[in-house]
Structures are given as C-alpha cells and as structure tokens.
C-alpha cells in the first residue's frame, strides 16, 4: 500500500501545501501577496508533478481512486485554467479590496476537491470531492461579504446547490441499494443485468451533475451568481468547476452507467437541446456582460453535452475538445472584462463597451476574435470545437440534434454580433484607464493566439484527447 502512495502524490502535495500556507496566513499579517505568489508556485509545482507521473492506469484504496491519463488531463486543465484565472484577476482582487489571505487558499481547496472528483472510482470518494469543491465555491461566491449582491449570490448558490447535492446523494444511496456496491466498475457490472431501480438512481445523479454544470433546466442559479459574485470569482466559476463537472459527467456515463445508455441518452439529449436553445435566446436581452457570459456558458455546456449524448467514445472526446477550447475562449473573455476599468471602477455593462475600437484598438480586436470564436465562426478555434462535436453527433445519425444545435448557433451569433456592433459600429462613449494588468493582457494574447492559429494544426488537441480513453 505504502509503495503506491506516489499515485496520490499530487493530492498529498496539494493538501500539505494548503495547510502550510494556511499557517503562514494565520501567523503573518498582511500576507496576501506572499500567499498569492505561493499559490501560483504550488499550482505550477503540482502541474510539474502530474506531468512527471506516468499515465498508466493505477487504482488504489480498494480501487476507489484512479490515476490514468483521463484524470491527469483534467487535473492539468483545471490547474492551468485556475492559474490563469487567479493571476489575471489579481489587480481586480486588490482594487476591490478582496485581498483576504483565505481567497487563494479556498481556491486551492476547491481544486483539491475537483482532483478527487475526476480521479474517483467510487461513489463515496466522488461525493466527498464534490462537497469539498462545492463548500469552497459557496464561500467564494460570497467572499465580498459587505456587498449585498455578492452575499445574495452566495446564499442563492448555497441553497440551490445544497438541494442538488441532496438529490445527488439520494441517487447515490439508491444506487448502492440496488447494486450493493459503491465501486464504479462493479456498478457497471451489476447494471448489465435488468435493474429498474438503478435507473431512478441514475436520474437523481444526473440531476445533481446537470446542476453543477448548469445545464437547463437546472441553470437558474447561474445568471444571478455570475452577476452577483465579484468578476474574479465569476471567471473562476465559468471555467474551472465546469471542466470538473463535465469530466465526472463523462466518467459516470462512460463507466458505471455505460450499460444503461438508452435510458440516460434521452435525458442528456433533452438537457443539451434545452441548454442550447435557452442559452441562445435568453442571452439576447442581457445588458450585463457577466450575465451574458452566464447564458453563453449555458449554451456552450449544451454543445458539450451534445457530444456526451452520443454515448460513444468519439463523442466524449469531442466534448472534451469542446470544453478545452471553451476554457481558452472564456479565459480570454474574462481577461478582457478585467481591463474595462474607468477611474478605478470596473465596468460591467455592454453599453460601456461602446466604440472602444477607436481608443483601444487592441482590446477591441481581441474581443472581436474571442466573440467570433464563441459564435463558432471559422477559421477560429470555436468553429473546430463545434465541428468535432457535430461530427460525432452526425456519426450517430442524430441529425435532429445536429440541426437544432447548428440553428441555435445562428441565434447565438446574433448576441455576439450585438457586442461586436457595440464595440465597432457605435460611437465611442468612455475611454478606459491604461491599466498595467500585464497578466490579463498576457492571457488575452495567449487566448487569441490559440484561437487564431488553431486552424493550422487542429489535430494537436484531439490527438491528446484521443489517448484518454485507451484504458
């Protein structure tokens, strides 16, 4: 047993580091900067540890914990995106006086929870990871506790999320009751036989997971929380938990529920179509950028779910490619939002973007690239994400899903165009401060470069993703 502990090395390292920097925070005053930099260092080191570890499938603790290329890929994706979110939001955190030393520590704790989620091979471990993540997120949502909106969004998120966790837990206990085991592989074996009760369990679990990735009709919390929470938290919410949520969703469908595909496929198709349509239509009337990005993220989850709905490996792979490109686009989009600063105040309304192409041409062109990419217009990265998903969907002869999906891209193109119209066609209203937010600019640059040059060698991402399901 003790020889196998190196499998857990990233988690162990992360846990010990969290406790250490917590101690630093408690004993040293005004240590936000120190802890913040240490957090970045820890994230980098954890990435290094994971890159160094082997990709062979290893299961420990009575096969409840897996380390394989699938979990490693998602861990790296989570870490890299957290690193970018944290660093590009640093100026925002300082300006908004959110610089409490707990902030980065809680982010690290939620990352730890997500690590267990994507690595779990057992319902109990999965639930523990999920709760660790969720509890951290409740605190993060209301971190700006003197702000009414932030506290409100925290409470809202807590109440609804707790409800969904309850449903999910109920599903887990039903699943245990009907199959007599908590291990994913054994459950899959049990479900190969006729097992009606387990279908109920599956529905409850699916509801819980759909809530975590904010798929319609379990999306109600998303716009309010996105708008209410400080932007630095919103960008974290929009990216990292989505990745982890989609990863466990795919894992559940791929391993324990693989034998009851017909039953869950219908539900996922419904979730996917509903998310795509609502994401496209509800975003049209939005005036707040964060709220708009919330609806846009609902739509994007719909497209990723369309890939999952195929129920085959190539579909899961396309969903993973999709979510990876989604991460790149959203990191860029939120980094742009950090630069909308006027007299020390951060602007959040779309109308504030009016005519910025004249005074801030670089910011405007970055927004343009990211928005067209979100709309899925070739030759930008977002197009290839959609292309992979719909290739997988059409392969399974799900033509209706493909056509509805692509028609909703036309509707959603409308509201992305509306922002571009505000930026490029309207007269300029305000000019923003020349912020020295180097890291946000860097992440915009990286994001735009990836999206622009993705068409040169689109296979680079899918070649990696292709190796995830080899086990």
């Amino acid at each position: 047993m003790i020889n196998n502990l190196n499998i857990l090395l990233p988690e162990i390292f992360l846990t010990l580091s969290i406790f250490s920097i917590l101690m630093i925070g408690v004993f040293i005053k005004n240590s936000f900067n120190l802890i913040f930099n240490l957090t970045s260092l820890i994230i980098l080191l954890t990435i290094a540890i994971i890159l160094n570890s082997s990709n062979n499938v290893e299961k420990i603790f009575l096969e409840s914990f897996t380390r394989d290329s699938f979990s490693n890929f998602f861990k790296i994706l989570i870490l890299v995106s957290s690193l970018f979110v944290l660093n590009s939001s640093k100026n925002f955190i300082l300006d908004r006086k959110l610089a409490k030393f707990e902030y980065p520590i809680i982010i690290l704790l939620s990352i730890l929870g997500m690590f267990f989620m994507v690595s779990s091979n057992d319902i109990i471990l999965f639930y523990l990871g999920l709760e660790l993540q969720s509890l951290s997120l409740y605190i993060l949502a209301s971190i700006d506790r003197d702000n009414l909106k932030s506290s409100e969004s925290g409470i809202k998120y807590f109440v609804l999320s707790a409800l969904s966790s309850g449903l999910l837990l109920y599903g887990c206990s039903l699943l245990y009751g009907f199959t007599g085991t908590t291990n994913f592989d054994l459950i899959a074996g049990e479900l190969a036989k006729e097992n009606t009760g387990a279908v109920f369990a599956m529905v409850f679990i699916l509801v819980g997971l759909a809530f975590k990735v904010s798929a319609v009709p379990f999306h109600m919390w998303t716009p309010d929380v996105y708008e209410g929470a400080p932007t630095s938290i919103t960008s974290y919410f929009a990216v990292v938990p989505k990745v982890a949520g989609l990863a466990v969703l795919i894992k559940f469908m791929h391993i324990p529920f693989s034998k009851i595909l017909v039953e869950w496929q219908t539900i996922i198709i419904f979730l996917s179509i509903a998310s795509m349509i609502l994401g496209a239509i509800a975003a049209i009337g939005q005036k707040n950028i964060k709220r708009l990005l919330a609806y846009s993220s609902i739509g994007h989850i719909g497209y990723a779910l369309a890939g999952v709905a195929t129920g085959v490996i190539s579909g899961y792979e396309s969903a993973i490619v999709y979510i990876s490109i989604y991460v790149v686009m959203n990191l860029g989009a939120f980094s742009c939002v950090y630069l909308l600063k006027k007299d020390g105040e951060y602007k959040e309304n779309i109308s504030d973007l009016s005519g910025i192409s004249k005074k801030h041409p670089i910011l405007a062109i970055s927004f343009l690239i990211i928005l067209f990419s979100l709309a899925g217009i070739p030759p930008l990265g977002g197009f290839f994400a959609k292309f992979y998903v719909f290739t997988a969907v059409v392969e399974q002869k799900m033509y209706a899903l493909a056509i509805i999906g692509l028609l909703t891209t036309v509707i959603s193109a409308f509201y992305y165009l509306k922002i571009i119209k505000t930026i490029y066609f309207d007269d300029s209203a305000i000019s923003f401060d020349n912020t020295k937010n180097k890291f946000a600019q860097l992440s915009i640059f990286i994001s735009c470069s990836i999206l622009l040059t993705f068409f040169l060698y689109p296979s680079v991402l899918s070649n990696v993703v292709d190796t995830l399901f080899l086990n």
Binding site: T391, A402, L406, L407, T409, A413, F414, K421, Y424, S459
Partner: protein, 494 residues
Amino acid sequence: MDFPILSTLIFLPLVSSLFIFLSKGQNNNSAIYISLFSSLATFILSLFIWYSMDYASADFQFIEEQSWINDFIKFKLGIDGISILFIVLTTLITPICIISCINSVKNRVKEFLIAIMILETFMIGVFCSLDLVVFYLFFEAGLIPMFLIIGVWGGPKRVYSAFKFFLFTLLGSVLMLVAIIAIYWITGTTDVTQIYEIKIPKEYQNLLWLAFFSSFAVKTPMWPVHTWLPDAHVEAPTAGSVILAAILLKMAGYGFLRFSLPMFPLASEFFTPLIFTLSIIAIIYTSLVALMQEDMKKLIAYSSVAHMGYVTLGIFTFNKQGIEGSVFQMISHGLISAALFLCVGVVYDRLHSRMISTYGGLVSYLPKYSFLFIVFALAGLGLPGTSGFLGEFLVLTGSFQKNYLVAMLATFGVVLGAAYMLWLTKRVIFGVTKNDQIKNLKDLNKSEITMLGILALLVIFFGFYPVPLMETLNVSVDNLINNYEIAVQTKGLN
C-alpha cells in the same frame, strides 16, 4: 511536392495584412502602398498560374495536400479551368477596390485595407479548395471581414444591413455544414475528387442537395432569399459593394458547379424545375423591382439578382452552352457590376447622395464619367460587343435546348434589363440639370480613370474576343457534363 504556389497565392494577402497592421506614417500612405503592391503581386501570381496551367487536361492541377484534422480531413487545394477564372477575377478586383478606397474611405483607412486583404485570402481560398471542410472554412470566414466592412464603414442603416447579411448567410450555411459532415460519414471522405468517384447513394442525394442549396441560394442570392442583398449593397461602402457583387455572389454559382452538380447529379436533375422556376422569378420579378428603384445602388443590386438568375438558369441546363454561358456571365457580371458600383461610388464621393433624382444632366459637366457610365450600362443590358451579351446569349441558347417556355420568359427578362438600365442612364446622365451642385463637380481624377478604364477595356475586349476565357473553360466543362450524363444514365449505379 512542388512549390506550394496555391498556398502562396492564398496567404500572400494575409501576410501583407500583417505588414499593413505594422505600417506607420502620415495619411496611411504606406498602408495603401503595401496593400496595392501586394494585391498586384497576387494578381500577377494568379496570371502566372493561369498562364502555366494546362487547359487541355480536365484534371485538377497544382494540387497540394496536407494532413489536417486528425488524419481524416486533408487540407487539399487544386484548380481547374473553371476555378482559375474566378481566382483571377478576385485578384483583379481587389487592387481596383484598393484604388477606389483612396477616394472614398476617409476614416480608419488602415483597418479597412486589412479587412480587404483578409477577405481576399478567404475568397481565393474558396475557389482553390478541393475539400468540403476547407471550402466551408473559407466560405464562412469571409463573413467576418465583410460584416465589419459593412458595419464600420457603411451608411446610416449599416447595423441592420450588416446583421441581416451575416445572419442570412450563416443560417443557410449551417445546414451545409451538417450535410458536409453527413457526406463524410456516408463516403468516408470529404475530399471532393474522391467523392466524385465514390458517388453518393441515390437515397441521400436529395436531402444533401437541399442542404447545399440552402447555403448557395442565400449567397447567390435567389428569390425569395435575396432580400439581404439590396440592403447590404446600399449600406456597404463602395469597395464593399464591389467585392460583394463581383466576387462573393460568384461563390455560390461556383459552389453549384463544383459541388452540387458533380456530387449530386441525380438530385440536380430532380430539382431542375425548382431552380428554373426560382431563376425565372428572379429574372422577371427583380427586374421589375429594379425599374421602380430610386436609389442607384439598390437598382444595381436588384439587377445583380436578375443577372444571377441567368447564371443559375444556365448551370442547370446541363449543356455546354448553358454552363459555359453562366461561367462567362459570372465573370462578366463581376466586371460590369463592379464597374457600376464604382461609378455610383464616384458621384457619391462628390455629392453624398445615391438618389437618382439628385442627378441628371451629368453628361454636360462630367463627360469622361458619362462616357464610361454609358459603356457599363450598355454592357449591363447585354449589348452585343460587350461581355454582357455573350453570357446571356449562351445561357439563352442553352436553355432553348432544354425548355422553350423557360427560355422565352428569360428572354423577356433581357428586355426588362434594357428598360431599367436605359432609364437609369437617361435619368442620371442625360436630361436637364436640376441640381446646381452638379455644375461645380470635377470630372474623374487619375485613379478613378485607371480603375474604370481597366474594367471598360476588359468588358469590351471579352465582348469581342472571349476565346481566352472559353479556351480555359472548355475541357473542364466538357468533363463536368460528361460525368453528369454518365451518372444520370446509370441512375447513380456504379
């Protein structure tokens, strides 16, 4: 593999847009020179390709292949006798647009030039691609620069027009994307040359044809989805209208020839009555609409719809005269409509009005301008001796072999075409000068004479001597028709 000459051709404008972006200097002079120089280089390169290709071969030439998306989709380029003409048209029109914007674009010149150069890359890409996904990539990508050209530099209703243009085209195209993916799963490839040989099973053809049609019909534009075109044309700046009319509309006609006809021959035959009906409606109805316009750009826009009606009519006659005629018509319409929009642009730059009623009696004060305007108007109505005549004549000859009634109705459209063009000329060029401002107008300056003169020479040259175009087309069109006839006779069975 040889030197990747097609990729060079495609990406030369894109690279030059980077230099324009980095250029500095007063009055944007360096930006204009860079773009003019690079677009002329592109033009010369395309002429070189035209010169060095083998007309006697029906095969695709200058083929470039590169593995692209996950080994299953290749980045494949290649040209034949049909596509080279559109490429040369594109590379010819782009420098003319750049010359035109010296006079007409006043703000954000650098960005405008960048948009034009990026658009040129995508347009050449469309005509070079031999893979459905590559084609779709370039076809759709062109929306982005065009959307910005209309929206940023356009007229008062530019936002509405830009949105309408973008969403109409996108809506048509997404169905084509589903069809492309479906073709991949049916045939196992998206390589056009392989699909020609594999032959798509009959039961799929109709649906796939309709999906492609939805995209091409919007882009052509065919009645009743043509409504975006007048709006886009009216609001776009001159160079934008020119590119839209001269090249973007041709992508759909080219798409019919390259994809719909050879890939779905049975469906093409099945849907011929639909195309004929829509084409005839387009020819007659939009000609009547054009008669009633008070805005010059709108009038020319509607005449474009009518002219594209001849193109679709000619393509679906499936005989040599018809298809060669419609390709010729596309090239000639590319020159003539570009020239007419430039003519409107010239007076718009001076008086800032597109209304016909503003003008009248220009002939006394702008003699050079009036001369060129009349040349293009006569070419537009298809006067023998101009390129406009040959295209329409061949299409009508082709359609008489197929269906008398259709050909008769289409011929009626020629009369209507003459009516609106002559009436336009009468009201703008001749008549009494009511507007005092006209008396102070300056005649064409050097750059305007250059761009209009080149087009006028070409229009008249090809009117008398169409051989260079026909020679290039000949074998490729023969091959297209042969394959089509074999497919129809064997009912798609191998």
